[in-house]
Symmetry: C2
Subunit: 698 residues, 2 copies
């Protein structure tokens, strides 16, 4: 992958080119902070979110912007166009933004919140100053807005430097060591701060031997990474191995109820916080896909999580404990075991047993980051637990950053899903509400903590464009924005991203570029869905090529529990209570009934919940088999249209971006065509039903 | 793989335990050779097959055997039980064996041939001395009896130390270097000499950068390997890269018609023979699966091969040029391209253009070492070319030395195939005859050279048992014996191997062990066939697991050109002239007609030549679909019977062998069950036809 990197060139600025700073940079900006204007201004208490380094960063940002665009840094009493002020009486998170006669004042209680306020004004651009008078308070939907790096320190024989990484090597590590030069990590932190992300778990949840040492022997290196993230108010978390007391500590057990094990974790946590006072906490993948966990000792996930929670509690730390637990050595012959059921079966019974500083981190769907799958019922099953939603920004199953696939619409659907329905009973509570601690029957401690927040697997690497495909930057951008406000409209987020990323030196964006990017990206997730696995059935990806490209039967006879059961008559997985695996029963009403009935189950999830004959008629009037043909032909045509639209931009896009995007679009067309032909051929060979339009099926 | 090796233990003796030497070792043995008995005995000319080192080896073998078993080395005139004598008036290959009143005299023209004669007596055991008087001449069917090591010097990222190696690391190389201690290579040479093999190409035909240097910079290392093989009369060949003049020589071209290129190869050959006077020649995989070749310069395979032939000719060297050339980036949608046709299409038109010291090395089948496939028509298409048959002892497609699969019956079928039929027209000429230079219309030079001989990919590694599965040793043994005499009966070869390998200290074999090994091994290839791909259709192996285990559609939508085209109605590849790819037309009569007719095409190759409905009735009266079910159920039952037979040997087999065999049998049962269930389920889902016996299909 490194062959793609342009080593000598500076990284692409992503959505923060200097042009994006034009509106603020042209103006007179003042800061009023204790360090800058003296004790009389009032000194907010120091803390993880209120570091002098962040204030210094903010000042440097302001100076950079005004220098670049001819504005000026002025005194707070010199009638600035923009005043940024610390104001300890506000709540800790978020900021207030007042516009009065075209002059803007941003106040916040902490340095990090004020930095977020600054980037808010940057994002608004001219509109920040030109609207009618206003007094807005902006606060994030949840306190924990996190990215998980699946970066390995040692290059993994199969997974490489970054597991499920599609953007070159790691910006953190290189071939077994933490990078000497971590300046790019700080650049990354800047991008994250600009979208409100304030936590990063810096290593892969699959914690191999080398990575495990970040917790102990290599703590000084971990502290260097934390120091590189800190200037932008981004706090460091570590993924740790549950077996650490044995593998690192030399104990004979990792039993969570063993006193020596508890002491070991307590000491380890003490040392981490001594080295990194604003450290965030631990992230754990336990008893999952071969990772060690409490099951080895006859303990459960609550025992395991609470062990670590006890160790980090004195420091105000949290433990993210992943709910991605299932039998990964399943027998395909066994139709009674349903991987979709696994997380709920494991975790729902433990509700109420987790410590207050444990966060159970739940993948959005019950399978594994598919292009389309149901929403995980675990999210609605644990009112007495802080539950986090886990998304995947890296495009493991969605084109691996070779395909354009703007994921915000898909995340938005998940965040906006109403587990208890929209009616009077459910009150329209959404997944976003649940993970903010506002689910029905949320325990007081859960509500008080603001829930578990949102986490996602990052998509960046040391690729010049950060994300391989330049347009995949938009996914990282949108993820951050949705963690701050899950109600945002994906098209508006994209518009915002375009305004920043494609800003010319004067801050303006070519209207044709804007229009084309919407045409290329707005519906790209649905386009991707159209030419891949149909109707929510999932997978059909190639195990040989690490989930890239089609292989309809690739997982059909495997141990992974992801099957489609296609035969000559039909396809899909019966997950009903009546005749299937009973997975539908894991949902509260109304979904337990909606999904249980073929009449009400949404078409896009039809094959996720039902095994139906190819002749089954969808709501649109076409049969399942004809739907497969139609969507696969249409998907490729949509890719062709995308390419035509992009090519019409000729000359309006920076050459390096244009070249990379064209390369990727060509690969997308090749791959989409392969998907179309393999899927259509597979189902034609099985069903024997010809395409009613007589198109070519091989 | 190295975890399986018992590092401290001596390698298993394979078929040469001391017990196997009992019959000769108990007797009085004399040698009459120039070195031993003086000039009066007549000194044969020195040469590659007549080295003083081999005579020293022979003397050491005799001393070892007689010391171990109480016999004696005596003078030739002291009425020895066995006299081994050089006799220059005999032909160069082979030996004469005379038994007269229970005393045996072996004479040969060269040291290597005399060594082969010694091992002949060893193999015969008591029978060598106790039969009626006899005067036999034994000569190998072909002068070139070769093994190809697919060993890499550098560990390859995917293929490991030995490409398609299932027996640990390489006995030649270890992690980038030629092993310092090559004593095991000499032990290997001893095993080879005992079965008549006299040539080894010591590196992988896929010649990577590190391996290429064996020809030049690392020639001294190559010479060390040659020195380790030489004591047993085994000569060294090298696999070379066609691009060597560029990659090693710094030339700007490897064009075979370029004078500088010709000079480079000539110089390279001169240096090799200067370092290794008995060097054999070069082995080349060109324009195949990404290896460089003459196509890049608009030249053909004859141009390429003749280039190297010219360089090695002054030294009496040969060039083995592989015919395994096909389009490995095929489009699965394109049904007109047939990989089975490729070797013939490339090579048959070149017949007559190859130099006399070029050997075109042809895989036995037109695809790739399948468990069942047709015989390659190339073998019958090049009378003016020295053609070698290439077999695969390493069990790439036949269970990877996890499954018992005694391959001699399959090789014997290929060697005994009569390309021109058995009738008066074809005169019963076999493939074995063709590769011995005795095909119809063989050019005089081809006949004079004795054809191209036989080559095979070795199955040994640094595993204690040499071959991973101890019973896989029999394949190496049988390969050697068949190269010497292709008419040998596989069961008799196996019996010979049992007599040697399982000989007790007194040379006797437990009759129950003998009986059980026949029960376990005689039909094991057909058993393996029964539970894998049906009726000659081939492949259906897992690309993810490097050809181990089932994946029916694993290669169905790939670039490799190996498809089965199964749909809801039928399965198989139409290779007829009438309606298919025309491959049948590459055969001479009668096969071009036999295969062209569904009425005469043998059932075991039915799906290799035809796409038939599942309801097609085989000669035995069952349908294709029922045949699939029946053979797959029966195959697993046969494996169970094999295990029961082996377990009944309890206590009669050395513990280390027994343990390893039991481990492998357990894995074979697991894997065979997986094959059965995946194949049956796949075809049931496609066909919808139930098993008439109502057995479980998932």
């Amino acid at each position: 992958m490194s062959s793609e990197n342009v080593v000598d060139a500076a990284p692409h600025p992503a959505w923060l080119p200097d042009g994006a700073l034009a509106a603020v940079g042209r103006r007179r900006v003042a800061l009023r902070t204790p360090e800058l204007s003296g004790p009389a201004a009032g000194i907010p208490s120091r803390g993880p979110d209120n570091s002098p380094e962040v204030l210094a960063t903010l000042r440097a940002e302001v100076e950079h912007a005004t220098t670049a665009h001819g504005g000026d840094v002025v005194a707070p009493d010199a009638s600035p166009d923009l005043l940024l002020a610390l104001s300890p009486e506000l709540s800790a998170d978020g900021f207030r933004c007042v516009r009065d006669g075209g002059r803007v004042t941003v106040t916040a209680a902490t340095a990090t919140a004020l930095l977020h306020g600054w980037f808010h004004v940057v994002r608004r651009g001219e509109a920040a100053f030109t609207g009618p008078d206003a007094d807005e308070r902006h606060a994030p939907a949840t306190a924990l807005r996190m990215l998980n790096q699946w970066d390995n320190v040692d290059v993994h024989p199969y997974m490489g430097q970054v597991e499920r990484g599609y953007a070159g090597g790691s910006i953190f590590y290189d071939a077994g060591v933490v990078r000497a030069d971590l300046s790019r990590v700080t650049e990354y932190a800047r991008l994250l701060a600009s979208i409100g992300i304030d936590r990063v778990a810096i290593n892969n949840v699959n914690v191999h031997a080398r990575e495990a040492r970040l917790l102990t022997d290599d703590l000084a290196e971990t502290a260097r990474v934390a120091a590189a993230l800190r200037p932008y108010g981004v706090r460091t978390h570590l993924a740790v191995s549950f077996a650490s007391p044995m593998t690192l500590g030399g104990l004979s057990t990792a039993d969570p109820l063993d006193d020596a094990v508890r002491a070991w974790w307590s000491d380890a946590a003490d040392r981490v916080w001594a080295a990194i006072p604003d450290f965030g906490g631990f992230l754990v993948k336990a008893d999952s896909e071969g990772q060690p966990g409490p099951f080895a000792y006859g303990r459960d996930h609550a025992d395991g999580a609470n062990l670590l929670a006890e160790a980090v509690a004195p420091h105000g730390g949290v433990v993210h404990w992943r709910a991605f637990v299932y039998n990964h050595t399943q027998d395909w012959r066994d139709r009674t075991t349903d991987r979709a059921r696994a997380a709920y079966d494991h975790f729902a019974p433990l509700d109420g047993r987790f410590a207050e500083n444990v966060i159970v981190q739940v993948k959005h769907g019950p399978l594994d980051f598919q292009t389309r799958e149901a929403v995980s019922p675990v999210l609605a099953a644990m009112p007495r637990t802080r539950v986090a939603l886990e998304l995947q920004v890296t495009q493991e199953y969605t084109g691996q950053q070779q395909h354009v696939c703007y994921l915000a619409p898909w995340w938005r659907e998940n965040l906006g899903f109403q587990p208890w329905g929209a009616g009077s009973g459910g009150d329209g509570v959404t997944v976003a509400d649940v993970v903010a601690g506002r689910g029905p029957d949320a325990a007081p401690a859960v509500a008080a903590a603001g829930g578990g927040g949102i986490a996602a697997v990052s998509n960046v690497g040391d690729d010049r464009f950060w994300t391989g495909h330049p347009l995949a930057q938009a996914n990282l951008y949108a993820y951050g924005r949705l963690t701050w406000d899950p109600r945002l409209d994906p098209a508006e987020i994209l518009d915002e991203w375009i305004s920043l990323t494609f800003a010319g030196p004067d801050g303006a964006v070519d209207p044709q570029v804007r229009q084309t990017l919407h045409a290329v990206m707005d519906d790209s997730w649905r386009t991707y869905e159209s030419y891949t696995a149909p109707l929510g059935v999932g997978f059909m990806v190639s195990p040989l090529r690490a989930h890239y490209g089609p292989d309809v039967d690739g997982y059909e006879y495997s141990k992974w529990g992801t099957y489609h059961f296609a035969d000559r008559d039909g396809v899909g997985v019966d997950r009903t209570r009546a005749t299937g695996t009973g997975f539908t029963g894991q949902y509260p009403a109304p979904w337990r009934d909606v999904y249980e009935s073929l009449e009400t189950c949404p078409d896009e999830l039809l094959l996720f919940f039902y095994h139906v004959p190819y002749s089954h008629v969808l709501r649109g009037g076409t049969t399942v088999i004809q739907h497969i043909y139609d969507t696969h032909f249409a998907g490729v045509e949509q890719v062709r249209a995308t390419i035509a639209a992009w090519e019409a931009l000729d000359g309006r896009i920076a050459a390096d971006v244009d070249t990379r995007v064209r390369e990727r679009l060509a690969e997308q067309l090749r791959s989409a065509t392969e998907w179309r032909d393999q899927l259509n051929t597979y189902f034609f060979r099985k069903s024997g039903v010809p395409d009613v339009h007589g198109r070519t099926i091989y």
